[in-house]
Structure formats: C-alpha cells, structure tokens
C-alpha cells in the first residue's frame, strides 16, 4: 500500500504527459461586397479660344485647353457627356452656335475622343480630358465678349 500511491500517481502522470494538449482551431470568415462605384474629381476646367475665321470657339484651338477629370471606378459603369444646355454669351452674339462636348480617357481605359457613352468594364483610374467646341455656320461669327458653357460629365 505504501508503494501503491507513488506508483499510481506516476502512472497517471505519465499517462497525462503522453497526451498533447488538445488545440482547437476555428476559422473566422470575412465577407465584403463592393457594388459598382464611380468617383469623378474635376482637376481643371477647360479654356476655349477662337479660330482665326471666328467660326470656331473651341478647347481644341491654339491656346485652348481641355478640362481634366480623374475617374476612379470598380468597373460596371458607363461614362458619357450631356449635350450643352447652359451657356452664357455676350449680348453682341445673336446667332446660333452648335456646341459639341467630347471626352477622351487614358489610364485603365483607353477611350478615343468621343461624344457617345462608353462602358467601363474593368476597375481602375483614368484621366479624362473633356473638350468643348462651339461652331457657327454660314456667315455667322463669334463676337467679342465673355463666353461660358457647362459640360456635364456623367458616370452611372
């Protein structure tokens, strides 16, 4: 009996040491959903200059500059420009002007200059150049004074 206790205790101890501690693992699941998104940041507005024949007022003319916009998207959206409806012309200009907004893009998407909608299918960032041209036909000419027009660039 005197030996029983130490022997039994040692046996139990050995049995316990022989077993590794039971470790459990549990996965922690993370889910995330990104829906189609688009961000437009206007960097610069454009500048239009008049052509030598005074029939074109355009950001394409010498001295003119396109407006620039940075676009960031997940893809699954489309980019377009609206017809120009908001213009301010000097009082001396009483003849009709045809305004044509266009845009082009470089970066994740390469878009040649267009006035139509473009589907952006892949994610990425682009630099969008927005141009505007006003033209007069026949014998009509642009008058001196301040012109202002607003181009709507849409991402949807």
């Amino acid at each position: 009996m005197k030996l029983f206790r130490p022997v039994f205790g040692a046996a139990v101890l050995v049995a316990c040491l022989d077993r590794a501690a039971l470790a459990t693992t549990q996965n922690v699941i993370f889910n995330g959903t990104i829906t189609a998104t688009c961000a437009l940041v206007v960097a610069t507005n454009g500048t239009m200059t008049v052509s030598p024949d005074l029939q074109s007022l355009s950001s394409h003319n010498s001295g003119g500059s396109a407006g620039t916009v940075t676009l960031t998207t997940t893809g699954g959206v489309s980019l377009s420009v609206d017809p120009v409806t908001t213009t301010t012309v000097p009082a001396a200009d009483s003849t009709a002007t045809t305004w044509t907004p266009t845009y082009s893009a470089s970066g994740a998407h390469t878009i040649a200059e267009t006035g139509s909608a473009t589907a952006l299918t892949v994610p990425g960032a682009d630099l969008v150049a927005v141009n505007l041209a006003g033209t007069k036909g026949g014998s009509n000419r642009f008058a001196s004074g301040n012109y202002q027009a607003t181009v709507t660039l849409r991402c949807e």
Partner: protein, 130 residues
C-alpha cells in the same frame, strides 16, 4: 406618418444602404421592394475634394426626365472629404415597378469659361408589392 410607413416598408424589404467614404455617391445600384405607394432610398454623396462644394441631388427617370420625388436635402454644402445621407422618396405613380436614376451633381470650380459638372448617377429599381 406616411413617410415613416414608407421608410419602414423599405427597410423591412431589405434596403439597407451602407455609407462608404471617398466616393462621390454610394450606392450606385439598388433594388427596392415597397408595400406602400412610394419607395425610399438613402444615398450617401461624398466630397472627394479638398474644398467645400455645393452638391445637388436630382431624380430622373429612364429617359432623364425629372421625377417628382421628395429629396431631403436636395441642395447642400458638403465639407471636404465629407459624406452625408440623403433620403429620396419616390412615388410609384400607379405603376407596379419603377426605374429611377438618383444623381449627385456638383460644379466644383464655378465661374470659369468652360465649367465641368460632375454627375454621378445611381440606378435603382423599385417593385410595388401588393
């Protein structure tokens, strides 16, 4: 009370919008089930600029014709890098489903010769449940 019922119906139908930072508007897609004569959508316009901008919210139909919706608020100033919720309540007008665009518009640099209006439009599809 009517607004409350509309909102409750929309939320019960599972329309839960989550705000996201550094976007011009979130969400840009959504489908809504409503048990009332109107449906509600909450969007979160954001200002990615380093300056305060004036933001306008407009609602259009599929042909970009204005829709008579209740927008709260429809015009507001948004601080740099900020976002805020805007509640849009659109009537079905007797239809059983309706597609609308909710657009966030801003001209960040006004008073220039050629201004650029940035417009971010979300497309939303609503079903009127009996």
């Amino acid at each position: 009370m009517r607004l409350f019922r509309t909102l409750a119906a929309a939320l019960a139908a599972g329309l839960i919008s989550v705000a996201a930072a550094a976007q011009s508007m979130s969400p840009m897609r959504g489908e809504v089930n409503s048990f009332t004569d109107a449906f509600a959508i909450r969007v979160f316009p954001a200002n990615p600029y380093d300056q305060k901008i004036k933001v306008e919210i407009h609602v259009y139909d599929q042909d970009f014709q204005p829709v008579d919706a209740r927008i709260s608020p429809s015009v507001f100033q948004l601080a740099s890098q900020a976002s805020r919720p805007v509640l849009v309540v659109v009537p079905f007008g007797g239809a059983v489903e309706r597609k609308v665009r909710i657009c966030t518009e801003s001209i960040p640099f006004p008073n220039q010769q050629t201004q650029i209006r940035a417009q971010i439009c979300g497309k939303f599809f609503a079903h009127r449940k009996p």
